[in-house]
């Protein structure tokens, strides 16, 4: 699937120890300064780390950065091309139909169901997050591809962005005073020094969970697939190959499902948290019927 010749030579040279194979395997999942293409690899530019006040930030372009850009370009082209087709025919056919199905699903079942009436202005963010994460996950399943969401920095960035959007929607719906009042939780003022830090930490844990869930799902899936293939190198015989490839194929199909599911879960939880903030600002009377 990936650079098997490379792994085979490494195994032959360094011996058959399990940790050597595991190291090779991790090399495929982690970020690196080169992209693999058929018959070779491209070296990516490395910049010296920038030192800001004790932290050094490395801004070199790595494999995952390239795949994030690729996913962003794909999502942009997708959105522009599909929306342009609506000028010629109002009823979509073919590819536009599929995209419209997904957009309508995210809009009706996920965004508006959770955010209610005040949610229309946040629709663009929710839809963008869904398609961006979906394309990033799917790019990892292609040959010579890598999931950018398998990098914790990427998912941390997405979680931080969701955090900003959730607080922004809550403040916009409730007003800054009410928003800060909700942070105290309605207890006696003497308990505020205990309550406010806990509530602030609670604001962060939900987004931290979003970050970790997406990262671990994507990385874990790839490690399982690579482990099954690595069994062939561990036993050093071709007899393991049919069972190994069969299992890897099964997990691969599960990975495809997980790619869609995790994009949906991230989007749904983001819109759920946004909806909690929005509805605290506009108390709804009565039930909504779907």
């Amino acid at each position: 699937m990936k650079d098997t010749l490379h792994v085979a030579t490494q195994t032959a040279e360094h011996g058959e120890s399990g940790s050597a194979i595991f190291g090779e395997l991790l090399h495929h999942v982690q970020d690196s300064h080169e992209i693999e293409i058929p018959f070779g690899h491209i070296e990516l530019p490395q910049f010296a780390p920038i030192h800001i006040g004790g932290m050094s930030i490395d801004l070199s372009i790595t494999k995952h950065v390239v795949f994030v850009w690729l996913a962003a370009i794909i999502v942009s082209i997708l959105a522009i091309v599909v929306s342009r087709r609506y000028r010629r025919q109002v009823i979509p056919t073919g590819f536009s139909n599929m995209i419209e199905t997904m957009v309508v699903f995210v809009r009706d079942e996920v965004a508006l169901a959770n955010m209610g009436k005040g949610g229309e202005r946040h629709l663009s963010y929710v839809l963008t997050v869904f398609f961006f994460i979906l394309i990033m996950n799917l790019l990892g399943l292609l040959p010579y591809g890598a999931s950018a969401t398998g990098n914790i920095s990427v998912t941390a960035g997405l979680a931080i962005l969701s955090f900003v959007m959730i607080q922004y929607s809550a403040i916009r719906a409730q007003g800054l005073g009410h928003y800060l009042a909700h942070l105290t939780g309605g207890v006696h003022w003497a308990l505020w020094p205990i309550m406010v830090p806990i509530e602030i930490i609670g604001l962060f844990t939900k987004n931290f969970a979003l970050c970790m869930r997406l990262f671990a799902n994507m990385t874990g899936g790839h490690i399982v697939i690579l482990s099954f293939i690595g069994l062939i190198f561990l036993f050093k015989s071709y007899a393991v190959a049919p069972a190994s490839v069969g299992f890897a194929l099964g997990v691969y199909m599960l990975e495809l499902f997980i790619a869609f599911l995790q994009a949906y879960i991230f989007t749904m939880l983001t819109s759920l948290f946004m909806g909690l903030g929005i509805q605290a600002g506009h108390p709804e009377h009565g039930e909504h019927d779907h």
Binding site: R213, G220, I223, I265
Partner: protein, 75 residues
């Protein structure tokens, strides 16, 4: 036993316990979903959606533990 060996052992036992926890949790969830679908077949679609969401959330917690086990195994 040196520290490295204990680390690998801990990672293995941790991963096994995590899988037990996740399997039990999602098993109970699936059992409840099956029962509810059997009782009211026309709600099966909504039940399946809620089941998938809850399963993904439980697996999210599982993966926290998995990441810790991986860190243990790799250090």
């Amino acid at each position: 036993m040196e520290a490295n060996t204990m680390g690998f052992l801990a990672a293995g036992i941790g991963a096994a316990l995590t899988v037990i926890g996740a399997g039990l949790g999602i098993g109970k969830l699936a059992a409840a979903a099956m029962e509810a679908s059997g009782r009211q077949p026309e709600a099966a679609g909504a039940i399946r959606t809620s089941m998938l969401i809850a399963a993904a959330l439980i697996e999210g917690v599982t993966f926290f533990a998995l990441v810790i086990c991986l860190i243990l195994a790799l250090k």
